[in-house]
Symmetry: C2
Subunit: 334 residues, 2 copies
């Protein structure tokens, strides 16, 4: 085929694709799983005023940064953080190589099926479980472990894959923001290496746009090839005051909009809204015991107390899962 013909075909095809894209920009409701109400209106008003060129609140595309907490904001965090359930599964897999765990807490309780007893040891117990299951292998090995687990593990209550325990309205919100030129990031207290293997497929967020807690790494050489070994030592905790720090270190810009669900997100929302120009802060309130879980001020997981008071005082958007969301999970999409 002559180059000129090829070129004409290529141009025609590209133009057609663009035409379709342009037409779909005028398509129906971008947030179909959100009920009409104050929350949906606040989101759409914010996007319109920051993206319309003649708006006094216009934000240049390069500065449109949106950060999302993960646990409880993008996916379910009850009855326990998924990463902790992953760690518990790993303890069972690793147990045959650790006969000493039979008499050593928190592992002994865990292997007897007594999760509550294992976690009674508090932070040190959780730390021991996390370090044992998240260190001592290369980054490539850990990536494969997580990829295999997420493909096969099931949520203890719903028996569905964890990647189906994500919130359909938030998936729509991520797409809607990206379609309007926002760069979307995860900023989570969860492990950065635990989220990256599935975040792109699940949320459309590439590995370099995932910010999270991390352990230290060491460059080593095995069989003449460089490897990165995960050390049992904390590098960074991306929670509470750590979130603005993680944002600065990874993203290097203050977000235009931030989305969370608990007191762990309070500093991220404060940091975001303290910037000049139009800013947006949103909190997902878990108030739907029927379709999901209902918890807030007194919950050990995802406690929403001080951040809720601040949201009310400052006029941040507080989403009621019960009233604002038509569907919770993708499979309920109407």
């Amino acid at each position: 085929m002559p180059a000129k013909t090829l070129r004409s075909i290529f141009i025609a095809a590209t133009s057609l694709a663009c035409l379709v894209a342009a037409a779909s920009a005028f398509a129906a409701d971008p947030l179909p799983s959100w009920n009409d109400g104050a929350s949906k209106k606040a989101i759409m008003t914010f996007v319109a005023k920051t993206t319309e060129r003649n708006s006094p609140d216009f934000v240049a595309p390069d500065n449109r940064i949106a950060t999302f907490d993960n646990d409880g904001t993008l996916w379910a965090e009850q009855p326990m953080y998924s990463q902790l359930l992953f760690a518990l599964d790993r303890v069972k897999v690793l147990a045959p190589k650790h006969p000493e765990w039979k008499d050593k807490e928190p592992f002994a309780s865990l292997l007897k099926g007594d999760v509550k007893g294992a976690l009674a040891g508090g932070e040190p117990a959780i730390g021991a479980i996390v370090m044992t299951t998240h260190a001592g292998m290369t980054t490539d090995e850990f990536d494969k472990i997580v990829t295999d687990w997420i493909a096969t593990a099931r949520h203890p209550v719903t028996k569905r894959p964890y990647t189906e325990m994500v919130y359909q309205p938030m998936l729509e919100l991520l797409s809607y923001l990206r379609a309007n030129g926002f760069k979307t990031f995860i900023v989570s207290g969860g492990g950065i290496d635990f989220m990256r293997p599935w975040a792109a497929k699940t949320y459309g967020i590439p590995p370099d746009q995932v910010v999270g807690s991390s352990g230290k790494l060491k460059l080593d050489v095995v069989d003449g090839k460089p490897v990165l070994v995960k050390l049992p030592e904390v590098n960074f905790i991306d929670d509470k005051a750590g979130k603005p720090i993680g944002i600065q270190q990874h993203i290097g810009q203050r977000p235009t909009a931030a989305f969370g669900n608990s007191d762990g997100d309070q500093q991220m929302l404060e940091w975001t809204t303290a910037g000049s120009g139009a800013r947006f802060a949103l909190i997902v309130h878990h108030d739907d015991a029927k379709r999901e879980w209902a918890y807030d001020r007194t919950s050990h997981i995802g406690m929403l107390d001080k951040a809720w008071d601040e949201a009310v005082a400052k006029g941040w958007t507080v989403v009621s899962m019960k009233d604002d969301w038509r569907a919770i999970y993708p499979q309920e999409r109407k």
Copy 2:
């Protein structure tokens, strides 16, 4: 204007823009400042084979990651790293507030104009200068200091702005890779907060795609507003073995292609090429004493010794600035 008419106009305009974009994909040489030769050919062959859909070396767009060292790879690093020259300028600005510096090294020598004497103190002296000039203010304040400096400071030899001391062939390479779906990152030993304020404008690389060395941060509240304070404490050194670690922590994927110029980049190039599938490693060799500087095995700045030997042994692309580059700086563009 009826919505339907508006829609038609919008679609027509978008299609036209797309048509122009499609046509320009067939435009002239994307690397006009590169002489025809082995280096240019190696780059273009790599890009073709990783981006043509039916190629056995095809790399999915999501995995096209290209990392670039900064000093000596994207901009000049002689007669001294620009960030050190920035720090020396800052010492002069801050001196009136520090009368004690008159008798305290390395500041005393520095204020007498004796840069060599100041740096005779080695790493501790450089550390003292960097910490004094890069900490003790908020991230917003430091951003402004760097933005003001880069807009006004002049290179000591050429008297040109530092942002004009960038390499035209590398600017073309960055654009060429991006046009072919690669996400471009800086991975530099330089300070992350020093590079971010001007990297977007100069290189087209946004703040979140800049990886570098950093100090620790602290979230504080001043006048009821959160601020991030730069502490005089090292957080991370993104050099040598630190580069693969910085890549993993920030990018979370092994690069497809990596570009450097010194032994400080060796581990990044090794890490990149140790991945499966097609990988590309390139070293810029400073061998043009007439148009730039000539230095390699014995230079204190940008020493290229072990990485050069490895490049030759492994067949990495070694660019001769003298022979491969038609122009060095943007203003010499033919």
